[in-house]
């Protein structure tokens, strides 16, 4: 591409992974140059104040829905300082704050954000350390140590388990995860059926989704799994 300061190519067939996205400066020049709208820049730079002001505009909606602001990602703890700053400002507006996290970050980051968060939506993907490492690429113990700290600090935590068929969706896996959560002191859990719209996002990145064609679990399966969780002693919260 002539306009790209990094000289990155962008015309690629679906499935190819040649674009070096790490080298992309997000300057947006290719966007302007492509008059067919084939390129899209997701996201933009914003200050914590601007973001909190935008959230404040939604207060009338929160009043009716009982909702608030949820910071999600990606991983909010990767931008712990910014996340904490935004949530602090939201709280000053009287807005309820929540954070969706994998829990995979250094404890100080978690502590910084916990100080201004009303509710944590904390992912737990597997109870077996080896399988966890294999499927997510990161060790389980860091996450469980953070979770334990969080629960002991008295934070309100909802454990969330995204159920991926073939990875952690079996009744045994769910029982294992629920047992682990319960043993750490968790009280509430949501089981999330598989979200098939992920494929669409992979297409944006010109990648094939490894889970293309996988179907969400049906209602009967979900009910059985939720019953398993209840029997272990956790309250099941619908997603």
């Amino acid at each position: 591409m002539e306009v790209c300061p990094q000289q990155l190519r962008s015309f690629l067939p679906l499935g190819a992974e040649e674009l070096d996205r790490d080298a992309c400066l997000r300057c947006g020049q290719c966007l302007e140059a492509c008059t067919h709208g084939a390129l899209e820049l997701k996201g933009r730079e914003i200050t914590a104040g601007e973001l909190a002001d935008k959230a404040a505009r939604l207060i009338p909606f929160f009043q009716r829905s009982g909702g608030g602001v949820t910071v999600t990602g990606g991983e909010p703890l990767m931008q712990a300082e910014f996340t904490a700053a935004v949530l602090q400002l939201c709280r000053e507006h009287g807005i309820h704050t929540a954070v969706e996290t994998t829990g995979y970050a250094g404890l100080p980051r978690l502590q910084q954000v916990a100080a201004v968060t009303n509710l944590f939506l904390f992912d737990l993907k597997h109870h077996d350390a080896a399988r966890h490492q294999e499927f997510t690429g990161v060790p389980l113990h860091l996450i469980t140590e953070n979770l334990q700290w969080l629960l002991q600090s008295g934070a309100e935590v909802l454990i969330r388990v995204p159920l991926i068929p073939g990875y952690n969706g079996s009744p045994e896996d769910v029982a294992g995860i629920a047992t682990l959560a319960w043993s750490l002191g968790a009280q509430r859990m949501s089981l999330l059926p598989f979200n098939p719209s992920t494929s669409g996002k992979y297409r944006w990145l010109q990648r094939r989704c490894p889970l293309d064609g996988v179907k969400p679990q049906n209602a009967a399966t979900m009910q059985e799994l939720e019953q398993t969780v209840r029997e272990i002693g956790l309250e099941v919260v619908p997603p």
Binding site: E32, G37, P60, R64, S199, G200, P216, Q217
Partner: protein, 724 residues
């Protein structure tokens, strides 16, 4: 008056009602023979100098020759005849048309879109009205200049009203006759019908059934006076005017709920006998406030919603009038009704509309009786004449006028004169919008004067408050309130255009106004870079503060130009922003616009944002309410798209309810929910870029439909084809 339930022969009225529904669906068609009757009457009155008397004579002839029919199981009687144009009728209809054209029978005018004074008529009866007219007629000062006109008007209302009374009487006789040959169970019903009709020809309603029956006869009579179809007459606030009758029967312990449901179902079904113009409505409202300002919701409010859910036909257009005191239960029930995919009810911000009307000088106790006259324009039950959506004005054209200094954007060669800076354009735009508003007023006034001359409605005038009191036909401004409601179409296109020009010309200085002129002239061909840059500019609906301000300013200019103005019939002008279907037709004749819209493409519908980028419904609500919508009583619509599956659970219903109520808190005028089905989903598959805001429910998630892989989309479509 308690009836003996024991010993009554049985008749399955529910089954017969369903069968009636099928018959109506199959047979509906305009009453074309009516025109032949009107022409006959007009021919016989060619020497009659007063138009209003000619019309009354025609109405009487139509009503006196009306074919009658009572179908088995029909306990609500009064058939709107349907006669397809075939054979001999074809010729006589054609000749009638030609003749009536020479008599100026049709003139461009906004007609109907109102309701008779149901509460008074149901409780006083038609004979009382007739006596009042007689008294007034006798009291006319025939030596005063307005004497002859008043006399003619009273005579005409009398003629028309008496004809309606005769029709009701004839139905009584007809039912009596039918009873003589009917099997016992049905004969008993027919005799009761006969008694009711004979009574209602003169007297007030005694029972809930009679109230519903009289309301129906009024609607039928008015329609037959006006045209071959429903003419947008309105059933109105049925939960209010039927309530005293309902309450009395409840207290006496004689309320027959089963029968009430059948009567309401039959009323709803019969509304569909009027073959109406496409995209028209007959509005039926529930909820709102009483004359004392209290919440008006009652048992009938719910009963009417239930009837809508049972019958599920195109008419009536159900509306919920929301106020800050409306029980959440009513709203919840209304949202649940959307599951049936019919798009009913629509939701109106009654508090906002009442506020706006009071500011226009309407008495509070009348303002609470506001009705959407079809979509959202304003009518006041029983006492108003609306001139709704008259005329529609193309605001993007006003912008082009400003941009091209009045010259045709498509004239050959390059156009260089016109505003050179954003500020100059801004000033020119305001002037053009004001000029457009004045042109709308000029046109409206002209049409009102002509309509008064050729298209009076003496029967309607007898039934709407103010006319008999003032001695003036409704089309001459006799009603208590007469409005003119011009509509500005395409405001979002104007706002988006100005926003793009502000960003690209004034701030970034990457383009000039000349570039925009050239691009419009060339329909953006060869200007792809500019088009791309425009798409990246902020637009209306994204809740960007400066764009919201611009939007409020543009909408405000339209309203301000008409504020305090009166029209030809002595009432206020109520500006609106309704698009109806005009945004498509107007778009076809509008060149490209600086917001990136190509020539011939539709312009924006009311305040709905255009463009593919979606920032979510909250952002759209926040943007659209940046303008004080109580200034737009002429009507404003807001569309929300929801998949039926998203409403399947209580949580889904609660979410939409919360969204609607928040919208009202923010000051939105009206919301209509398009519950999408398979056809829309198929379109979304073909044109995903236009359906990015379409969310469906799958696997417990609300996800953008266009992000789903094809097989998941198929599954959603399969589910959409099943009724909920």
């Amino acid at each position: 008056m308690a009836r003996q339930a024991v010993g009554r022969p049985s008749l399955n009225l529910r089954r017969l009602t369903r069968s009636l529904q099928r018959t109506v669906e199959r047979d509906r068609c305009p009453y074309h023979a009516r025109l032949v009757r009107v022409a006959e009457a007009f021919r016989a009155t060619e020497n009659e100098p007063f138009r209003v008397r000619r019309v009354a004579h025609a109405t009487a002839h139509v009503l006196d020759t009306l074919p009658l029919r009572i179908r088995r199981g029909e306990i609500l009687v009064g058939w709107h005849p349907n006669t397809a144009i075939r054979g001999r009728l074809c010729r006589s209809h054609h000749q009638a048309c030609l003749y009536l054209r020479t008599q100026n029978y049709w003139v461009p005018a906004s007609e109907g879109h109102c309701a008779p004074d149901y509460p008074r008529l149901l409780t006083q009866g038609l004979e009382a009205v007739r006596q009042t007219i007689l008294t007034r007629l006798a009291a006319v000062d025939t030596l005063a200049a307005e004497g002859p006109e008043q006399q003619a008007f009273y005579q005409a209302s009398l003629t028309s009203l008496e004809a309606l009374q005769r029709l009701i009487q004839r139905y009584g006789d007809y039912a009596q006759q039918q009873a003589e040959q009917a099997p016992p169970a049905w004969a008993a019903e027919l005799r009761e019908t006969a008694d009711i009709c004979h009574h209602l020809a003169l007297e007030p309603a005694r029972t809930l059934r009679e109230a519903i029956q009289l309301a129906w006869f009024l609607l039928l009579g008015l329609t037959l006076e006006a045209s071959e179809s429903h003419h947008c007459y309105i059933p109105g606030r049925m939960d209010q005017y039927l309530y005293p009758f309902f309450r009395r029967e409840q207290e006496l312990g004689v309320l027959d709920n089963e029968r009430l449901q059948i009567l309401l179902d039959q009323f709803f079904i019969k509304l569909n006998e009027f073959e109406g113009p496409a995209m028209s409505a007959m509005s039926l409202s529930v909820g709102g406030r009483t004359a004392e300002g209290k919440d008006a919701t009652n048992e009938l409010s719910y009963a009417l919603l239930e009837a809508g859910d049972r019958v599920r036909m195109y008419f009536p257009g159900l509306g919920i009038h929301w106020t800050s005191d409306t029980p959440p239960e009513l709203m919840r029930r209304g949202v649940e009704l959307l599951r049936n995919g019919k798009g009913h009810p629509a939701f109106f911000n009654s508090d906002l509309i009442i506020q706006g009307l009071v500011r226009q000088g309407v008495a509070y106790s009348d303002a609470v009786d506001h009705l959407p006259s079809t979509c959202t324009e304003t009518s006041i039950q029983g006492c108003s004449w609306g001139w709704v959506a008259w005329p529609y004005m193309n605001l993007p054209k006003a912008l082009l006028h400003a941009l091209f200094n009045g010259r045709d954007p498509l004239s050959p060669g390059s156009i260089t004169d016109g505003p050179q800076t954003y500020d100059e354009l801004h000033t020119a735009l305001q002037q053009q919008i004001e000029a457009t508003a004045h042109e709308a007023l000029r046109q409206g006034i002209h049409d009102q004067v002509v309509a008064a001359r050729y298209r009076p409605f003496p029967l309607l005038s007898a039934l709407v408050r103010g006319c008999v009191e003032s001695g003036r036909d409704i089309t001459s401004g006799g009603a208590t309130y007469t409005f003119l409601q011009p509509e500005a179409v395409g405001v979002p296109n104007v706002v988006d255009s100005m926003a793009a020009i502000k960003a690209l010309v004034a701030e970034q200085q990457r383009y000039t106004l000349q570039d925009f002129r050239q691009a419009v002239h060339d329909n953006f061909s060869g200007h792809e870079a500019l088009l791309q840059a425009i798409q990246l500019c902020p637009r209306h609906g994204q809740d960007v503060t400066w764009v919201n301000t611009l939007f409020a300013e543009v909408a405000g200019w339209w309203c301000q130009a008409l504020a305090g103005r009166n029209h030809a019939l002595g009432g206020p002008v109520l500006p609106g922003f309704l698009g109806w279907t005009m945004w498509i037709g107007m778009g076809q004749e509008t060149p490209a616009t600086p917001d990136g819209r190509r020539a011939g493409q539709p312009i924006a519908n009311s305040f709905s944002p255009t463009g593919a980028a979606t920032h979510g419904t909250p952002a759209m609500l926040l943007s659209t309410t940046a303008f004080d919508q109580s200034r737009g009583l002429g009507g404003i619509t807001f569309n929300v798209r929801f998949a039926a599956s998203a409403l399947a659970t209580d949580a889904g219903v609660a979410k939409l309810q919360g969204l609607l109520e928040t919208g009202f808190d923010l000051g939105i005028f009206q919301v209509q929910v398009n519950v999408i089905g398979a056809e829309v989903l198929r379109l979304a598959q073909l044109q995903p870029e236009s359906y990015r805001d379409l969310f469906v429910r799958i696997g417990g998630y609300l996800v953008p439909f266009t992000l789903l892989p094809p097989d998941a989309q198929e599954e959603v479509i399969q589910r959409a084809e099943l009724p909920l």
